[in-house]
């Protein structure tokens, strides 16, 4: 069980890394910012970052605003 964007959810079988997780959510990756337990994980570390039980993952992006 992880907390994704503020909601608890199970992790699908086969998802090991942050890269896997990003891929299955099918969000646009360009401009995507990923926070793991409130820390930004740089894109180059997505492959090597393991998804573990209890983690809080946030997907953030830049949107229009004044």
């Amino acid at each position: 069980m992880i907390v994704f964007n503020g909601k608890e959810q199970d992790v699908e079988p086969g998802i090991k890394s942050l890269s896997d997780f990003v891929r299955v959510t099918k969000v646009e990756e360009e401009g995507l910012v990923v926070l793991l337990d409130e820390v930004v994980i740089k894109r180059e570390k997505w492959d090597s970052t393991e998804i573990k039980d209890g983690m809080a993952i946030e997907f953030i992006n830049f949107v229009s605003g004044g």
Partner: protein
């Protein structure tokens, strides 16, 4: 004549800052930036809704334009600091517009929390541009806290009502050592020119441009107004008089 505004080590030759909010089509943003020559633009950070397609706003902003992420959605200094850190980690640079709002009716900024956030972020190396209620004491606190400029509101966000806070803006311009960037409420190019004539260092305009029928043309109009207002300020305007003062000689009339 060289007239640049230096903020955070960056030289701005155009004193119109713009925002990315409320454009009917994001494709208009780069065209508006080109037409207006604006060199700084605001963006916001939000959680991605994975169930709906979200567009990356950054792809509409040319690399030459400085990004000014805002902390909208923050209700206190802690949240604003967190948003600023995320924006920087995400590669948005060191500029940050502090926007801390608890009042949802008028969207007035919380000066007290804004000062706290400014102090923390300035120490972390950010170039902090705090959106604030125009207040001299808060301005002095923001100077001490290390703000790069102050951004007092002209009128509530998105109202297009112009410089309703004019007397306070005049006091801040006269008394602050920081550049004063009038933010929020400016609805017409003439109001932007007015702010610049008063001695504002720049203006930040979003809704008045993005909600116009033709945002590209309106961006250009605002840019011209800002330049005109700045030139008028530098030229030092003639004194106002209570009574008429003839512009032609008062002697040698033809029929006397």
């Amino acid at each position: 004549m060289s007239d640049v505004l230096k903020l955070g080590g960056v030289e701005f030759t155009n004193r119109l800052f713009t925002g990315t909010g409320k454009f009917s089509s994001k494709a208009m943003i780069p065209k508006m930036l080109e037409a207006s020559g604006s060199q700084m633009i605001t963006v916001a950070l939000r959680r991605v809704d994975v169930k709906s397609a979200s567009e990356n706003i950054l792809k509409y902003i040319p690399k030459s334009v400085v990004l000014l992420p805002n902390t909208s959605g923050a209700r206190n200094a802690v949240e604003a600091v967190k948003i600023a850190m995320i924006a920087r980690e995400a590669g948005c640079g060191n500029f940050i517009k502090i926007e801390i709002i608890n009042d949802q009716k008028y969207l007035f900024p919380d000066n007290f929390e804004t000062i706290k956030a400014t102090e923390i972020l300035a120490k972390e190396g950010f170039h902090v541009l705090p959106y604030m209620m125009p207040d001299l004491i808060a301005t002095k606190r923001l100077e001490d806290a290390g703000a790069a400029a102050i951004m007092p509101l002209g009128a509530p966000i998105g109202t297009n009502r112009g410089l309703e806070t004019r007397p306070m803006l005049e006091i801040l311009i006269e008394n602050s050592i920081l550049p004063v960037v009038v933010d929020a409420g400016i609805g017409r190019p003439s109001q932007a020119a007015d702010a610049m004539e008063m001695g504002a260092a720049a203006v930040l305009v979003n809704t008045a441009i993005s909600a116009a029928d033709n945002p590209v043309l309106m961006g250009e109009a605002f840019s011209m107004a800002v330049k005109a207002g700045r030139a008028a300020y530098l030229a030092k305007m003639a004194e106002e008089k209570r009574f008429a003062q003839a512009s032609s000689p008062l002697e040698g009339y033809l029929w006397n």
